[in-house]
């Protein structure tokens, strides 16, 4: 019986093992291995050079700058998508007994469901300096007197515009997680606090936030790691520019490998992304294990 179970289970997971080892782990290990090699055009072969690629890249200006962009992207993106997601979740929780909740929830979640590339395209139409709705509205209200170049100048503004689009696209995901968390907090805790005379802010700090804590950790961990995925929005809005101001690590890796065909250099960046991903995955597993 036990043997049969093992054999059957093996049959059930075999296709998955074959697929993920040939389409995920083999390419991944291959890429990591490449980062230790150097391509020799003369003999059209690769030779092992140890950590040389790493040493060259890790101290190069373009890598450090890109790392800085990624960290800024991560921190600002996390803070704002968390705040907006939390705001949306609190709102939906207040409305949860209304009939039309499904419409409002649907509207708020919609940005998350569409393709990142399409989100980028939509904001291309909004940020356009001459006819985009943003500049035309601001001019009309009189808040600005000349067109603002949201995606080009000043470069730091461009980075923040790209982060804004990323937050717009991804905050709903945090909203859904936090909403599930809010709905799992038992109502009687709030009633008891009210009897004890706690005001709304105290109830939020002493009941809502502690109740949400596990969900907040999951949400921040996942958003943190998914920031490394942001590519489509940057590609369509700025192509990593102006200068290198929106070039995150993922974009830098794409450029090195597929624009400049520096396979080994690009593999170094990718290996660093793998390490970061692994770190987040371990943190998440540890967190799951603790619960």
């Amino acid at each position: 019986m036990i043997l049969k179970e093992k054999y059957q289970a093996f049959l059930f997971v075999l296709p998955v093992i074959v697929l993920i080892s040939s389409l995920f782990f083999f390419p991944l290990i291959n890429t990591i291995a490449l980062s230790f090699f150097k391509y020799l055009p003369s003999s059209q072969s690769y030779s092992f050079i140890g950590l040389e690629n790493y040493l060259t890249l890790l101290f190069s200006q373009k890598f450090l700058f890109s790392l800085g962009v990624s960290i800024y992207f991560l921190i600002i993106g996390l803070i704002f998508s968390f705040l907006i997601g939390l705001g949306m979740a609190l709102l939906l929780n207040e409305l949860s007994n209304k009939k039309f909740i499904i419409i409002i929830r649907g509207a708020l979640i919609f940005p998350w469901v569409i393709a990142p590339l399409v989100a980028g395209l939509m904001f291309l139409l909004i940020f356009n300096p001459s006819f985009g709705i943003l500049n035309t509205s601001l001019l009309k209200i009189g808040l600005i007197s000349s067109n603002i170049y949201w995606l080009t100048f000043p470069p730091f503004l461009a980075l923040n515009s790209v982060i804004f689009v990323d937050v717009w696209k991804n905050a709903p995901w945090i909203m859904i997680l936090l909403l599930a968390g809010l709905q799992s907090i038992p109502e009687y805790l709030y009633d008891a606090a009210k009897v004890d005379g706690a005001n709304a802010i105290q109830r939020f700090i002493y009941i809502t936030l502690p109740g949400l804590k596990p969900m907040i950790i999951v949400a921040l961990l996942f958003r943190g790691i998914w920031v490394l995925r942001t590519f489509d929005i940057i590609y369509i809005l700025t192509r990593g520019g102006p200068g290198e101001y929106t070039k995150t690590l993922t974009y830098l890796a794409y450029e090195e490998v597929f624009q400049y065909f520096k396979l080994t250099e690009g593999s170094v960046i990718i290996t660093i992304i793998v390490l970061l991903t692994l770190l987040f995955a371990l943190l998440y597993l540890k967190f799951l294990g603790r619960r």
Binding site: I2, E5, K6, Q8, A9, F12, V13, P15, V16, L19, I20, F24, F25, P27, L28, N30, T31, L34, G87, M88, L91, E94, L95, I104, R105, A107, L108, I109, F110, V113, I114, L117, V118, A119, L121, M122, L125, F131, W168, W173, I176, L177, A180, A219, W226, L228, R229, F231, D232, Y235, I236, T250, Y254, V257, F258, I270, I273, V274, T277, A281
Partner: protein
């Protein structure tokens, strides 16, 4: 008493103001793209005068969805045909990935949940690692491997890649749905002499239908929305997906924002259908894995 009533009123007002604000924030980009898509050409640069166009037409949607031209404008067949072909490619690829990931995902998530086998924990940890990994990790090597296997620029190549990258997510969703099914059901079926295969088809598929719908939506969206690997692995209209053609269009005909907006809205149709008709399942798919693990 009176004070409490006015507090209540203030609270209601605050809630409604916030609702309007968030709705505006979430929907303006979509609505704006839709307005541009139904606006006649050359109307664009007078937008500063009015926000909603006075004469509208759906002709661009018809042109793209049928691959025809609009007479008297610069929307030609050479412009709309790529859109139509890419749209069909995207549909074929996304549906294949959805079907295969459910077909392969069901038995394996069943095994992960109910059966004992060696290395189960390690394998499941690897699955979580894949879920959090960005697809860029694979692309340099996949490109080289696909070149040797003649899988570059084929729909099959993209289907396989999306399956390898997306199947773990489906398994995760299905397994966390299985977690909600009581163990008694599994044990009594075993007592009755049910084989595992018939158990899956007769008991677990009907019981976990919402989980299957959630998993199917997620794997459809994953392949429908994916852009980076399609950009790298496709080269001609035999396999280019809709997002790739859309992105190219921005570079090629940078002036025609109306058609870009139309394409963007068409790309949103599945998202719209899921949000309107299957929202409950979509949210289940979104949260189930992350919460229970």
């Amino acid at each position: 008493m009176f004070q409490q009533k006015s507090m209540e009123k203030k609270k209601v007002l605050l809630i409604w103001a916030t609702t309007v604000l968030f709705l505006f924030y979430s929907l303006v980009p979509v609505v704006w793209a839709f307005i541009i898509s139904i606006t006649p050409e050359r109307y664009l640069y007078t937008y500063s005068e009015e926000w909603f166009p006075s004469n509208i037409s759906l002709s661009r949607y018809i042109a793209i969805l049928t691959g025809t031209e609009i007479k008297g404008t610069y929307v030609t067949r050479s412009m709309t045909e790529p859109f139509l072909k890419a749209l069909i490619n995207s549909i074929v690829i996304s549906l294949s990935v959805t079907f295969l990931s459910i077909m392969l995902g069901l038995p394996s998530s069943f095994a992960f949940k109910w059966l004992k086998f060696p290395c189960k924990r390690i394998l499941f940890s690897l699955i979580i690692f894949i879920i959090v990994s960005p697809i860029i990790l694979l692309l340099p090597s996949i490109f080289v491997i696909y070149k040797q296997l003649n899988l570059l620029d084929t729909k099959l190549g993209l289907i396989l890649l999306y399956l390898g990258w997306g199947l773990p997510y489906t398994i995760w969703i299905l397994k966390s749905y299985f977690d909600t099914i009581p163990k008694d059901i599994f044990e009594s079926a075993l007592m009755d002499g049910c084989t595992y295969t018939s158990m899956i088809y007769k008991i677990f598929i009907p019981l976990s239908a919402p989980g299957i719908v959630a998993g199917a939506i997620m794997s459809f969206l994953l392949s429908w929305n994916e852009f980076l690997s399609a950009l790298i692995l496709t080269n001609t209209l035999s396999s280019k997906t809709f997002p790739v053609v859309l992105a190219e269009f921005v570079g090629e005909y940078s002036i025609d924002y109306n058609t870009i907006a139309t394409g963007a809205i068409i790309a949103c149709i599945p998202a719209l259908l899921f949000t309107v008709f299957l929202q409950k399942y979509m949210i289940k798919g979104l949260t189930s894995g992350a919460i229970k693990g």
